[in-house]
């Protein structure tokens, strides 16, 4: 009886792929097919592309040549505009402004680009030429948040304040000091301008440029506040979790609050519905006189959330080897979820771009892999499988199936010795296939459940502008070289790479089956390198360690 039961279980395991094959092809994937791919070679796509003047415009950064690139609809390069001085991750979303005129002058169609070196470039979307340029303050970083247009002006968040600039010539009307900000977008509602900062202060700025602190929270505000009918929505980030606050937009008085998970995403608003998300859940709030959570689904996203006008929400899952999540919000009630496979995997914070051209619906996706995939709404055709066929993995899976079937047959026939042989080999194969993901998930679970026992102390010699940022320390021959002011890096690998590039250090890695191994830094290989995150010795591969926005990573030669 036991033998038959075991054989039944083993044969049942063989049916698993039939179940998963139905699940893997999402409804979105069935309706959309890939039109083309554009590989930028290096850098991150950290913010959503935009569609202007029949061109898809993408910004890439975090590498040696931060750029804004315009692509034609067929995927060919139209133009490229670079800013070699912008050394850090550019996260300020691109902003398209239609031509117009106002008290300060006349302007054509513009593409506004804010850079981390404090520059604002107003480009002609048709050819990428510069219409005007303005320079804002830099304190470690320049512009990292979303700008907003107010009549004939654009309002940009700078590192320590907010400035208003004329759309016609880029001249600065005013600049007012607020607090040290990062990804601190600005929103404009009537005569009120709102923005938050890293100290948790919500600022209310009047059109004349006077700033007042409207409210203060224990945490960081890293998005443009949203005005719902129930009040001003602010998602405040704390070290271990976050809180969504609904405030009186005039007095800043707190009306409601909802506890949420760590590392919140940039919230999005459409009519009476708001979407907030974090590393644990994506929630839809319905806001009338008050806000209430309509629905929530476990999902890990930390960047922009795309919300199509037809109700579809798509957000990048910001985890290694991850994909995008698609949420359909029907009739204001049912929130359904499915993963969609857009063929780009890994960390991501950029929302997708939806646009229509010549009656065809397109969706563009980009993430930290520096690749843009354009999909068009059509019946997906059979793709050429042979191009991406992984013979090694398929061979192992085939072998595993043979062993699985053999194990079932051997146990049925009572051949214990052969059953042990086939099942033991099967166990090894399955564990080897699962090892990278299993070890990462396990490490994350261990890290979440065990508190860090050590810390890396702040060095008083470091510049104040590094406060609240990510810092990397390299040790060479007993001397420390610190690189700070870094932001937005999700893993030890990404942060170390950025620090090495900023310092001009060469940097070699080895890719293995269980992750990335950094073999030399600045030509120093020695017996290897060890890393510490906030004082705790690194235990897994550098691409599998999630870090905080204020983490200090130390590299020590062994």
């Amino acid at each position: 009886m036991f033998q038959r039961l075991m054989a039944f279980l083993l044969f049942s395991l063989m049916l698993l792929p039939l179940v998963s094959s139905d699940e893997t092809k999402s409804s979105w994937n069935q309706e959309n097919s890939q039109a083309w791919e554009y590989d930028f070679g290096a850098g991150y796509i950290s913010t959503s592309p935009i569609f202007v003047d029949e061109k898809i415009i993408v910004r890439t950064s975090g590498h040696s040549e931060p750029s804004v690139t315009a692509l034609e609809l067929d995927g060919t390069l139209a133009w490229e505009h670079s800013n070699l001085n912008s050394k850090s991750n550019d996260m300020s979303p691109l902003l398209a402004v239609e031509s117009g005129e106002g008290a300060c002058g006349v302007w054509p169609d513009l593409l506004l680009v804010g850079w981390t070196d404090g520059t604002i470039d107003a480009l002609h979307p048709s050819n990428g030429s510069v219409y005007w340029t303005a320079q804002t303050e830099v304190a470690g970083w320049g512009i990292t948040g979303a700008a907003s247009v107010s009549q004939d002006h654009v309002i940009y968040p700078t590192r320590r304040g907010i400035g208003q600039f004329c759309l016609a010539d880029g001249s600065q009307d005013w600049w007012v000091a607020t607090g040290l900000g990062w990804r601190n977008g600005v929103s404009v509602y009537g005569d009120s301008i709102y923005s938050g900062d890293e100290l948790g202060t919500l600022w209310h700025v009047h059109p004349a440029g006077n700033a007042t602190a409207l409210a203060s929270f224990q945490g960081k505000i890293r998005h443009a506040p949203l005005l719902t009918s129930a009040g001003l929505l602010v998602h405040v980030q704390s070290p271990m979790d976050s809180t969504v606050f609904i405030l009186d937009p005039e007095s800043g008085q707190q009306r409601q609050q909802f506890l949420a998970g760590p590392s919140p995403a940039v919230p999005s608003l459409q009519g009476q519905y708001a979407v907030v998300a974090d590393s644990q859940n994506l929630r839809v709030l319905k806001c009338n006189d008050t806000c209430s959570v309509e629905s929530q689904i476990p999902f890990h996203t930390n960047g922009e959330i795309g919300w199509h006008i037809d109700g579809q929400i798509i957000a990048p899952s910001n985890t290694p080897d991850s994909n995008w999540g698609s949420f359909i919000f029907e009739d204001g009630q049912n929130l359904t979820f499915e993963f969609i496979d857009v063929g780009i995997y890994g960390y991501g914070t950029a929302a997708p771009l939806w646009f229509v051209s010549n009656g065809v619906n397109y969706t563009a996706f980009g993430n930290d892999q520096s690749v843009l995939h354009l999909y068009q709404l059509a019946k997906a055709e059979e793709t050429e499988r042979s191009e991406n066929f992984d013979w090694a993995t398929q061979g192992i899976i085939f072998t595993a199936y043979v062993l699985l079937g053999s194990s079932a047959i051997f146990i049925l026939s009572g051949n214990r010795d052969l059953f042990l042989r086939s099942s033991s080999l099967l166990t090894v194969l399955v564990l080897l296939l699962m090892a990278p993901n299993l070890s990462q998930l396990w490490s994350e679970a261990v890290d979440q459940n065990l508190p860090a026992s050590t810390t890396e102390d702040w060095n008083d010699d470091w510049p104040e502008s590094w406060l609240g940022t990510q810092i990397v320390i390299f040790e060479f021959d007993g001397e420390e070289v610190a690189v700070g002011g870094l932001m937005g890096h999700d893993s030890v690998y990404a942060l170390t790479k950025a620090a090495a590039e900023e310092r001009g250090y060469s940097f070699t890695v080895e890719e293995t089956s269980i992750g990335i191994y950094i073999s030399s830094i600045n030509g120093v290989q020695g017996d290897g390198w060890e890393y510490f995150v906030d004082g705790s010795k690194g235990r897994v591969s550098v691409d599998n360690v999630d870090i905080e926005s204020t983490s200090i990573v130390r590299w020590t030669p062994v």
Binding site: S424, S439, L450, G515, G528, E530, K537, R539, V540, S541
Partner: protein, 219 residues
């Protein structure tokens, strides 16, 4: 653990590495320094065994924590005894690490496999009818955990506290499972064959001596 890529503990200078290797070699020779009737044959056999298992370890390096040496040490200990088993473990650790990376951790690997060989010699894994497979399976699974714990001690360089060490061990659990699964496969597939290979065959002189001695007793 991973970033260090097997690199644990204090960094050793070239001289310290030399002393360490000399000490390990000394231990191996001391363990082998026992009168034997067939010195050349025994030495050649052990050398071939050490070299082949070292080669297998080097070749299997890309498979994370699949350690053929653990089962080999267990069975060598069971068949050839604690001394030769421990010597085998020390030599395999040294020779394979010559290709895979030598250092402070070699001591712990050698100690781990040597202790497994000693345990193998005490666990009655081999009976007159051959390898006791059930017992060998349990021993190989336990040996995987034991070896991983012993080797983990090599990270203790004075900067790591108890909680951190336990966290380190917890992080390694998936790789312990791999080690256990690998051991299980080795025992099931190769255990009996390897045991037969190691079985000491009496020489012609020994057979003759036994026969004559037997006749003498009979007489």
């Amino acid at each position: 653990m991973f970033q260090a890529m097997g690199v644990h503990g204090p960094t050793l200078s070239p001289f310290a590495s030399l002393v360490l290797d000399a000490a390990l070699l000394g231990v191996a020779f001391w363990l082998l320094a026992k009168p034997t009737k067939r010195p050349i044959r025994d030495t050649l056999f052990l050398a071939a065994l050490v070299l082949s298992v070292s080669l297998i370890r080097v070749v299997m390096q890309p498979l994370p924590n699949i350690q053929p040496v653990t089962v080999a040490a267990l069975l060598v200990g069971a068949q050839l005894g604690a001394r030769r088993g421990a010597a085998f473990a020390v030599l395999v650790a040294m020779i394979s690490n010559f290709f895979m990376g030598d250092g402070w951790w070699t001591v712990f690997q050698a100690a781990g496999w040597a202790s497994i060989a000693v345990a193998g010699s005490q666990l009655s894994l081999v009976t007159p009818s051959g390898l006791n497979l059930r017992r060998a399976i349990f021993a190989s699974l336990a040996a995987a955990v034991w070896f991983d714990i012993i080797v983990s001690f090599s990270i203790l360089d004075g900067t790591i506290g108890f909680v951190e060490f336990m966290t380190y061990l917890l992080h390694g659990v998936p790789f312990d499972l791999l080690h256990m699964a690998g051991n299980l496969a080795f025992v099931v597939w190769m255990g009996s064959w390897f045991c037969n290979l190691l079985e000491e065959q009496p020489s012609l002189e020994e057979i003759e001596f036994a026969v004559v001695n037997g006749h003498g007793i009979d007489g």
